[in-house]
């Protein structure tokens, strides 16, 4: 029997991880909701930004907040670049071509990172105080990441509901044709969405690098779970993705302690399939 204290610790770690996973899922979901294309390489963009933070902070010795800001800026630029160079030429292609084009980007980023930086694992070391609650060590880095992730999501919510361009983004995700009939320019909305989605990848990168080491295959480790969360929450459904992130991160964290990390992902997948049976339209979908 496993010590309940370990399980409680795993549950807390799961909760903290869920915050960052939610950030990833929301960024991917935002792009899908508006542009109707899934960026298979989304987490690989996060990987590139993580390397940026690593070099800025660990190699060149600048403070972490500067690395974070640079990562956000780089993420936004990458988002714009991906949209202009890859997505906009294939906006009307068959879905398989759209998936493959961003899949090609995944190959490209993974192997280019291998070429430039080898497969070594690199991490940013921060001097953070220890924290213990009820004899359970809590990682302060994870706590900070969680709080910041929640704040960013709150910011995204305000951006989408309180600003003009945010309203336009929501309008396009509801009805693209009607939006162009109203005289709005979907191209501009697409570009802003890609930049925001990219910036969220940058934020997630800054929050992930203080907890995990980065390596060229980082995207393969976090990508599938992000996709599962998006589908489970209902693609394009923000609240659903938010809830699904915490469900999945808890499953992974707890079964990871009981069995192994890989088995944690396998069990998360089984849970995913069962949930799809039970709630096909996503966790929060209403039965018609």
């Amino acid at each position: 029997m496993i010590d309940p204290l370990f399980l409680a610790e795993a549950a807390i770690n799961g909760l903290l991880l869920g915050g960052v996973l939610a950030l990833l899922a929301l960024g991917l979901n935002l792009i899908f909701g508006v542009i109707d294309i899934v960026w298979i390489a989304y987490v690989d963009l996060v990987m590139i930004c993580m390397y940026a933070v690593y070099f800025i902070v660990q190699v060149y010795g600048y403070p972490i907040w500067l690395g974070g800001l640079a990562s956000v800026a780089l993420g936004a630029l990458l988002g714009i670049g991906v949209h202009l160079l890859i997505i906009s030429p294939i906006l009307t292609s068959a879905p398989v071509n759209q998936l493959l084009a961003t899949g090609g980007l995944l190959f490209f980023l993974q192997s280019f990172a291998t070429f430039l930086w080898t497969t070594d694992h690199r991490s940013v070391r921060l001097d953070l105080p220890r924290l213990e609650i009820l004899d359970m060590p809590i990682s302060v880095a994870r706590l900070i990441a969680f709080v910041l992730a929640v704040l960013v999501m709150l910011g995204l919510y305000l951006f989408l509901t309180r600003t003009y361009i945010g309203t336009a983004i929501r309008a396009v995700s509801q009805d693209r044709e009607a939006m162009s009939l109203m005289g709005a320019n979907p191209q501009r909305v697409y570009l802003v969405t890609s930049a925001v989605g990219g910036a969220m990848a940058g934020i997630a990168a800054a929050l992930l690098i203080i907890q995990y080491a980065v390596h060229p295959f980082f995207g393969a480790a976090f990508g599938p779970i992000t996709f599962m969360i998006c589908v489970l929450g209902g693609l394009g459904n923000m609240v659903g993705a938010f809830v699904a992130s915490f469900v999945m991160s808890e499953v992974i964290a707890i079964s990871g302690v009981i069995w192994s990390t890989e088995m944690g992902y396998v069990i998360a997948f089984v849970v995913f399939i069962v949930m799809i049976f039970a709630r096909p339209g996503g966790l929060l979908a209403r039965r018609s």
Binding site: I86, A94, P95, F107, S111, I225, F227, V231, E262, I273
Partner: protein, 333 residues
């Protein structure tokens, strides 16, 4: 038609004679590349059986992995001949395909959702193989236990030519199955389903049955391809036989060739394998990752500029009637 048939006979005759052509020192290598092209073309064809109807699986690595690992584990640990092992593998794959296809079809998981679900499926099988490292060797892979000398029972031969003919037969069988599906009722039904599921159901097409059936067929053929590849290479590895990488490679080869035509997957596979081999020889052990970087870059470029695939684009030029294109085909933006 007679011209086409004569050309086909000629091609098969050349392929049959190929292992005995005087190619000098490069003969072994040429045969090796050809065997790989046959096996992966077979797998690509298996993918396109469902892929052409809009069931865009990004997780065929799962079926490949189940096939290859089932036979290899049964042979290594229980000495069960791969012939029977393949039977077990096919059964397992079929069951697994139903488990995945049933909810997807029942709840209309299509398009991008289907792609993402299957992508996760492929990755989960890879993780499962890595997690069960006590039997499977984890990410280090597993060598197929060698039999004493050549053995039909163990499907192990020192002479590559045996594998060459085996792979050739496999490839031709794959083309035949593709052709049969292309000529069948299932094709019409699947195309109707691909256009509009509700409309298809309203004219009496059993949507779930056709979708699950075509998925199982595709999965089973892929598993057989996985068994063949494992027997030929006599080594299995979770990264080369399951997961995102190999799944995307299969799809890329097929889309590059053109998935709506019989020979499209073969053309695409031959090109991608030739490209991969060329880049591998060009860079060797220097510049690790560079070959893959170029591969990924070319993938994006091809998808943007040749959306119908090479074979698809060429055959459209020669054909009078328009080729069967997806409804959402490229329109000027």
């Amino acid at each position: 038609m007679t011209l086409g048939r004569a050309a086909a006979v000629l091609v098969v005759a050349v392929l049959l004679a190929a292992p005995f052509l005087p190619l000098g020192v490069t003969r072994e290598y040429t045969i090796h590349v050809l065997v790989q092209i046959f096996i992966w073309s077979f797998i690509g064809g298996a993918w396109s059986i469902m892929g052409r109807f809009g069931l865009t699986s990004l997780g065929h690595g799962a079926f490949l992995g189940i096939g290859a690992y089932t036979t290899t584990l049964l042979w290594n640990f229980f000495g069960l001949t791969p012939w029977l092992g393949a039977l077990v593998a096919v059964t397992l794959t079929a069951l697994f395909a139903v488990v995945v296809a049933y909810p997807c079809s029942r709840f209309q998981v299509v398009g991008h959702y289907f792609g993402l679900v299957t992508l996760a499926v492929g990755e989960v099988i890879r993780l499962l193989i890595v997690a069960e490292r006590d039997w499977t060797g984890g990410s280090l892979g597993l060598t197929v236990k060698p039999a004493a000398g050549d053995s039909i029972l163990a499907i192990q031969f020192a002479d590559k030519r045996v594998f060459y003919y085996g792979a050739l037969v496999l490839w031709l069988a794959g083309l035949y199955i593709w052709w049969r599906v292309d000529r069948s009722m299932a094709r019409a039904a699947m195309e109707a389903i691909g256009e509009d599921e509700t409309a298809a159901a309203s004219v009496g097409i059993h949507v779930s049955r056709f979708k699950i059936g075509i998925t199982v067929l595709s999965a089973v053929l892929t598993a057989i391809g996985g068994v063949a590849y494992a027997q030929y290479i006599s080594y299995v590895n979770p990264d080369t036989l399951a997961g995102i990488g190999v799944s995307l490679r299969i799809v890329f080869a097929v889309v590059l060739g053109g998935m709506y035509s019989l020979l499209g997957p073969t053309v695409g596979t031959a090109l991608t394998i030739a490209l991969a081999e060329y880049l591998r020889i060009l860079f060797g052990l220097k510049f690790i990752g560079m070959a893959e970087t170029i591969y990924g870059f070319l993938l994006i470029v091809f998808i943007i500029f040749l959306p119908a695939g090479i074979y698809g684009s060429v055959s459209q030029l020669f054909r009078r009637r328009p080729a069967p294109m997806p409804t959402h085909a490229r329109t000027p933006a």
